[in-house]
Structures are given as C-alpha cells and as structure tokens.
C-alpha cells in the first residue's frame, strides 16, 4: 500500500509547520489533524483549519486523503481558528446569563434600586409570576441544551460566546454565528462582544422595570394576566413539542460516532436533526421535511416551516402582555425580526432541497410571513 506524505504549511506565511510521512491513503482529515496536534499541541484539532489552497475553503474532517486532488505528497495549508469552546458550554452560558441576571433584579439585590428596597419583595402577584415564567423559559432552554438538542462540530470560536450569550437564546444568524455544518467550519465573528452586551443588556433592562418598586401592574388586571399566561404556557409547550419532533426526525443510531468530550457529531441548533441547523443556517443540507405528529402542537407544521420560532415569538408576546412592559415588547420585536430572517432562510433551503415541499407553508407566521 502506497503511503502518502503530508506537509502542512502556514496559510499566511507559507512556513513549513509539519511534515508527516507514511500517512495511510484512507486517512481522514480528522486523523491528520490529530497527528498535527502531536507536533503542535497548542493547536488542538477543533481550532485547526486545513485547506488545499491558502485562501480556499476548509477541508472537512471526514474527507479522505486519497479522494482529494493531491499527489502522493499532499500540501495542506493551516489556519488557526482561535480558541474554541464547545457548543454546549456556549449555550449553557448564554442561557444561564439572563436567568441569573433577572433573579438579581427580582430579589432586589443592593445598588439596583434605592437602599430602602434592598431585598424587598414586590406586592404584585404578576411580578412573581413573571419571574417564574422568565426563569422557566431559560431553565427549559438549559435542559433542552443538555438533553434534547444534539450538536455537530463540537466547538465554536471562544470570541463568539460573548456575542451569543447576550441573546439569551440561540440566535444562530449566519452573520452572528458561523455555520457549523459539516461542510464548513466555524470562523470567529467580529460582532461577538457587541451582541453579548446587547442581549444580556436587554435581559437586565426588562428585569429592571418588571421588578421595580414603582412597577405598574397590567391595566386589565387578573384577566389580562391570566390570558397572557395561557398564551405563554401554550407557546412554551408548543416550542418544546417542536424541539422533540425535530429531534425525533433523526434517530440517535444514525449519528456519526461521538467526538471529543462526549459531544455527538450531529448538528447545531434547537431540536435533533439537521433541521435546526437549517433552522438557523440557510444553505445547510436538510434531510427530511418535518411533518405534524400526533402531538397537536406540531400541527403548526402544516402552516409554517419553523413553528419553533413561531412559538418562541408567541411566548415573548405573552410575556409582554402579562407584564405590560414596553422593553419586553421591544425585545420581542427584535427577536421576531431575527427569527424571521432565520425562518426565511430555512424556508428557502427547504424549497431548494425538496420539489414536493408543502406549498401552504410560510416561514414563520401562517399565511403571512
């Protein structure tokens, strides 16, 4: 069996970084990355980008050496993607942030409101209800991150975490988060810190007013609160149902072997299969059209491509009505805008991929948007 030789050069300086001889022809890029790490331990595989051309696209981990357009001496170019952080850590951090911040305001920790209000409790029921709802929302997300969603491409650049944390939820806009599909690799986004501050700021901004000593409860009293709470709960259940349905589209057995740290190589995003990846990242490959299941909440799939986003917007609208707080309404609006962009992208991908895609479906709002 003829062995290959692989030389790895720095993409920018063309400096020879590593020379590997006696590489098996059927070796994958992932294996080559592991070999490279041995000589340069500071560059663990997740932060390596290897490509055939210094300015070209990254090779995928599953690419096989002999299938690449190289001679028996292959030249690969290396780019450092920067410190990487696992997606699970990303989500846990970005969901724990708003959860924690809100509670600081709820408990009226000192230096937020006047000293005489330190550690006091609001006399309005709706304020306590709001805390429960908001906290439930983020706890649900944390649990989904740990037990429902499956992640592909184990990591993302560390710089991004500040960006997404702020959102308090996974806003996987292609501009915001890179496409961690198996075809491309994550690259750091420059707006990282900005987005983080922005969204964590929003969480603090909302929490400040809802838990303020001068908070004014809703105009229509208990009626309004009950209705809004119902909307919120229904949408939370709906959102969870969609996540489960999406996860079930691709049974666990079909996944490639788990990568490092017990990270299953699947896809990034809410829900199980490739779809959530698609849900946020236009251009990624879908495998299956999601259809309604026995669960009535999933029947929204008849009308909408991304019902998880629909339910998400619904939850926040419910929360806004319940608290009758303008900052919450503004936050819902911003979230809606972002999710609409993603939903449209995913919808477009679906249409491209499937000739027989149900024509009745709209991206996010039935019949409208």
């Amino acid at each position: 069996m003829k062995h290959y030789e692989v030389e790895i050069l720095d993409a920018k300086t063309r400096e020879k970084l590593c020379f590997l001889d006696k590489v098996e022809p059927h070796a994958t890029i992932a294996e080559i990355k592991n070999l490279f790490t041995k000589t340069h331990p500071q560059w663990y595989p997740a932060r390596q980008s290897l490509r055939l051309d210094p300015k070209g696209k990254s090779l995928k981990d599953e690419d096989v050496l002999q299938k690449l357009p190289v001679g028996t001496t292959a030249t690969l170019y290396f780019r450092d993607l920067g410190a990487q952080i696992s997606w699970v850590t990303v989500f846990l951090t970005e969901y724990a942030g708003p959860l924690f911040i809100y509670l600081l305001f709820y408990f009226r920790v000192p230096f937020i409101y006047g000293h005489k209000y330190d550690f006091t409790s609001s006399r309005h029921t709706v304020v306590h209800l709001a805390c429960i709802c908001h906290s439930f929302h983020y706890v649900k997300r944390l649990l989904e991150t740990l037990f429902v969603h499956r992640f592909s491409h184990g990591t993302m650049p560390l710089r991004n975490i500040f960006k997404v944390s702020a959102l308090g939820c996974v806003f996987q806009d292609p501009g915001l988060l890179p496409a961690p599909s198996t075809r491309s690799r994550p690259h750091p986004s420059p707006a990282c810190f900005q987005n983080c501050t922005y969204y964590w700021g929003f969480a603090a901004w909302m929490a400040y007013y809802i838990n303020h000593p001068l908070y004014t409860p809703p105009t229509y009293g208990a009626q309004q609160v009950k209705l809004a709470l119902a909307i919120f709960v229904i949408c939370q259940l709906g959102n969870f149902s969609i996540h489960m349905a999406l996860r079930d589209l691709r049974p666990a057995g079909e996944w490639p072997a788990p990568g490092k740290g017990g990270m299953v190589v699947g896809r990034l995003g809410k829900g199980g299969s490739h779809l959530p990846l698609l849900s946020c990242l236009p251009g990624s490959k879908t495998r299956k059209i999601p259809y309604p299941t026995k669960n009535p909440f999933t029947w929204l799939f008849l009308l909408v491509s991304c019902p998880n986003y629909t339910y998400e917007v619904g939850s926040w609208i419910g929360f806004a009505i319940m608290t009758q707080c303008l900052p919450v309404a503004l936050f819902s609006l911003v979230g809606f805008t972002q999710m609409t962009i993603w939903a449209k992208g995913k919808h477009r991908s679906y249409l491209k991929e499937f000739r027989d895609y149900p024509p009745l479906r709209m991206p996010i709002i039935p019949f409208l948007l």
């Binding site: 908070y215 004014t216 009758q324």
Partner: protein, 254 residues
C-alpha cells in the same frame, strides 16, 4: 461626527465611472454604475442638494453682512438648513435600492446623526439656537456638503475636476474637527435646558413600565464621539493618501 461621517462614509451618490469615493480609492472601474434613469435622477438629486447648500452658504454671508456680527445667524438659514439636511434621508433610500453603492447602515448612521442634531437638539432646545457653536457646525457642514454633492455630480457625469476631488479629500482635515466641536458644544449647551424641562423624558411610574432620560441619553451621545470620531477621521486620512496619490500617478502618464 455628523460632519466627518458625511465625508468619510459614503462612496458617493452615484459616481458610476469615476469611482473615487471614500472606500474605493479611485482604483476600481470594473463595477457598472446605476442605469441611465437612475443616473439622471442622481444627477438631479446631487445638483439640487449642491444648490440647496449654496443657498445656505449665501444666506449666512448675507445675514452676516446685514447684521454686522456673526452671532445668531442660525435664524436666517433655519428653514433651508432643515429642509436640505432632512432631505438627505433620501440617500439612505438610494443605498437601500442599490443605485448608490454605499452601505445602508453607514449612510443611515451618518444622515441620522445630522438629522438628530438639527431636530432633536437645535430645533428642540430653543435656547441653544443663539449659541455660536451652532454656527460652527453649520459652516463646517455647509462647506463639506457643497463640495461633497458637487463631487458626486461631477463623478456621475464622468468629469471630475481635480480641484473638487482635492477639496473633498483635504478640507475635511479642518472641517471635520470644526464640525465635531460645534456639535459637541451645542449638545453640551442644551443639557441644562433638557434637564430643567424634562424634555423627551418619561419617568416611572407609568402604565407601560418604561422610562427614558433624554439628559442621560445626550451625555451618552457625547461620549460616543470619543471612539467614533478618531476612526472616521483616520479612515478619511487613509482614503486621502490612496485617492490623491493614485491621481498623481495617473497624471504622470498624461
């Protein structure tokens, strides 16, 4: 900042052939410009704007000569200033529609900051209208805009005199800091009146559980000049080197 952004940010209102706008450095000629109808419209737009700012310039000079002093000249050019500066909002539309190859975000930022100063500060806080700082930024803007709009006009017609190009990429060195100073001083002068009147501010409690302190907001705006102004300024300096040295090379071959 509104003064600087105006020169720095936009690549030009059109300028199909001679792409010497900020950010291009006069090199790229491969892009095709807007269609003939769009070009005609843009030429008219830029001519009208040039004329408008000339009216403001002339108005300032005449008022100065009539009054004998440079104080409180704002009142004599208040209306055309508001009209033509607000009219610049169209430039955002031009970018959005695509007939001008500039970034919508950058253009919006630039125009909105100008409009903000005109309406939310100078118009809203009557007491600052007699301040000299207003004259400072009005003069800076007027000269900048006359040059900028004529630059675009000539670019669209593919007959850009070197003088205009030179002026656009040189005068900003003085006009930019001048404008920024005028703007900052005006906002600063407005502060006590905003505080006193509680202008554009809403406090708790209210039924939408929202509050806004315009005074604090203005202070934040002033602080934002610190990171933004140097960036725009040095970007223009960089552009200047690119654009003017490139032209020098072209001239050598003539």
């Amino acid at each position: 900042m509104a003064a600087a952004a105006a020169t720095a940010a936009t690549k030009g209102n059109g300028g199909g052939g001679a792409r010497a706008g900020a950010g291009e450095g006069g090199g790229a000629r491969k892009k095709k410009g807007p269609g003939p109808l769009a070009t005609a419209y843009l030429v008219i737009y830029n001519v009208v704007m040039t004329a408008g700012w000339l009216v403001i310039a002339v108005g300032l000079v005449r008022a100065y000569l009539a009054k004998g002093s440079y104080h409180s000249l704002y009142y004599s050019i208040e209306k055309p200033l508001k009209f033509f500066q607000t009219g610049a909002l169209l430039e955002i539309l031009h970018c959005a529609v695509g007939i001008v190859p500039s970034s919508v975000v950058l253009t919006s930022f630039q125009v909105m900051s100008r409009v903000f100063l005109i309406w939310a500060v100078t118009h809203s806080v009557k007491e600052v209208q007699s301040e000299d700082s207003v004259l400072l930024f009005v003069i800076a803007w007027t000269i900048t805009e006359i040059i900028r709009y004529s630059f675009y006009t000539f670019s669209l017609l593919n007959h850009l005199p070197y003088l205009i190009k030179w002026a656009r990429y040189t005068l900003f060195i003085v006009l930019y800091p001048m404008g920024v100073s005028g703007e900052l001083l005006t906002i600063y002068a407005a502060l006590p009146f905003v505080r006193q009147a509680g202008l554009y501010s809403i406090s708790l409690p209210n039924k939408y559980n929202f509050s806004f302190d315009y005074y604090a907001f203005l202070i934040l705006i002033m602080i934002s000049y610190i990171p933004i102004f140097p960036q725009l300024y040095f970007h223009m300096i960089h552009q200047r080197r690119k654009v003017l040295s490139h032209t020098e090379e072209h001239k050598k071959f003539e």
